[in-house]
Point group: C2
Chain length 314, copies 2
Amino acid sequence: MTYSEFNLIDEFLTDLTVGRDDVVLGIGDDCALLDVAKDRLLAVSMDTLVGGVHFFADADPESLGHKALAVGLSDLAAMGAAPAWATLALTLPDIDKPWLRCFTTGFGRLAARYGVQLIGGDTTRGPLSISVQVHGLVVPGSALRRDGAGVGDGIYVSGTLGDAGLVVRARRGDWLGDVAPLKDRLDRPEPRLTLGRALRGIASAAIDISDGLSSDLGHILRASGVGAAIDLSAIPQSPEVAAVGDWTLPLASGDDYELCFSVPPVRADALMKCLDHVDVEVTRIGEIAVTPGIRWCLPGGGLLDVGKGWEHFS
Amino acid sequence: MTYSEFNLIDEFLTDLTVGRDDVVLGIGDDCALLDVAKDRLLAVSMDTLVGGVHFFADADPESLGHKALAVGLSDLAAMGAAPAWATLALTLPDIDKPWLRCFTTGFGRLAARYGVQLIGGDTTRGPLSISVQVHGLVVPGSALRRDGAGVGDGIYVSGTLGDAGLVVRARRGDWLGDVAPLKDRLDRPEPRLTLGRALRGIASAAIDISDGLSSDLGHILRASGVGAAIDLSAIPQSPEVAAVGDWTLPLASGDDYELCFSVPPVRADALMKCLDHVDVEVTRIGEIAVTPGIRWCLPGGGLLDVGKGWEHFS
């Protein structure tokens, strides 16, 4: 494989996405040049997906293209930012044009839906790996951060939790039930951008759930200096996940890409109202508390003891 | 290796670089939040270095940390941009703390020299790979682009060419001469940021030489719709490279990280003046011409024929 072949890939990516007026110079120079609107802050996030670690070696390339961008857009959603641009560092063991065509189709379609322009990146030879940096815009002071949760705030999550974790379990052969209805939950996560932007001025803190609710809610709690009590009976689960009866799935498996956020009681009505225009269900699962850590309140009373690992509830 | 160990790395990186006033929120939330100065464009570039492809598996980690940032800063230099922020996606096969300490030291020292703050990134498990995105600021209209070279403009390069290529050749066992004086030219390239900024308003086009002069000057020529005549006797070479007597080294080997730029004759005096404050030699090597392509003019007259590959001149 030569450099010139990789230059072909650069050309392959050049017209992948639509143009934006705020891109002064896109792919094809030493740098891209971008005009950040005067009254906006720039929000950036970078994520890497490694073959064999974050996705199966035989993953469908179109879904992979979608997901590589979606995980970054999910971070922008969690900040309440409007997506604008992306850069892509693609490391490939060899040039497989049909694979590339599918990958870029998946990436490009999601980018088009949210008006994201691909403005640069790098294509290199090596073990399959994908790094994407997303760039969004947000009005100063309106960004959703992790450190604003206050005692008494309600805790909410979008969608259902644990679906992607169950699909991973099934693909590893550790679960024999039917997970076909949940396939896209792992392969083509939907960034909750509409919800994130609706929550500006309403949520006191927010995060996207990429490593499991327990871990990611924990980030909010530590950043805010508070704790939480979670009503396990309220955790939203798909029928498939609920049927497994293992708290590990909804609380501690990765790749949910839902939002977890806190809302002060005085803004609970405003939350309900803003959800009218949002394309995903939102569920109240608990409340911010004074005592650090998370109390997982069992449906029948008592607390789930996670000190000995996640327990089955079936 | 668990996620929590990788969180340790994130903490390891958090205080690596100095803080900047324009970073509203750094490492530790879903996104970093950045305040781009009103009268500036944002310049961004992303580069990936893959173990075993872009660097030897046993590369000194401190030098590697330096280089991972330097290749991006070299792109900012080629645009005339002032460096501001960086993100780092680090994929590691395992957690080797002494290695990490050296890597981050090399990265952090170069960042400190140029006032660059590390604002985010991702740490993942997998084959060793490093993607860095650099972010710089440039006054609208003053960025050095590839597409402005005009017929009659002088063509210049900084430093000497082919040094890194010779070190690679020696490390592969294909050259037995002493390359010790050139070691840092491969391992710790110096981004030509001072030169790049001095060239604003003077150079008509610029690029950094990462794939060899022939390839990178070719990018300027194609973007500008022109050609070039290069005086091979003027190509700046270190004594070590000159002694090899192989045009492939100064013209077509990678990793030079010098700047190649064009300057209209009316600004040649301004160029000489601005170089007083620049820390690298600059050499005029030829002139922009009407006919597309590059004519490589041999010292004794006649043209180098690169149609049959790069020829030895010894």
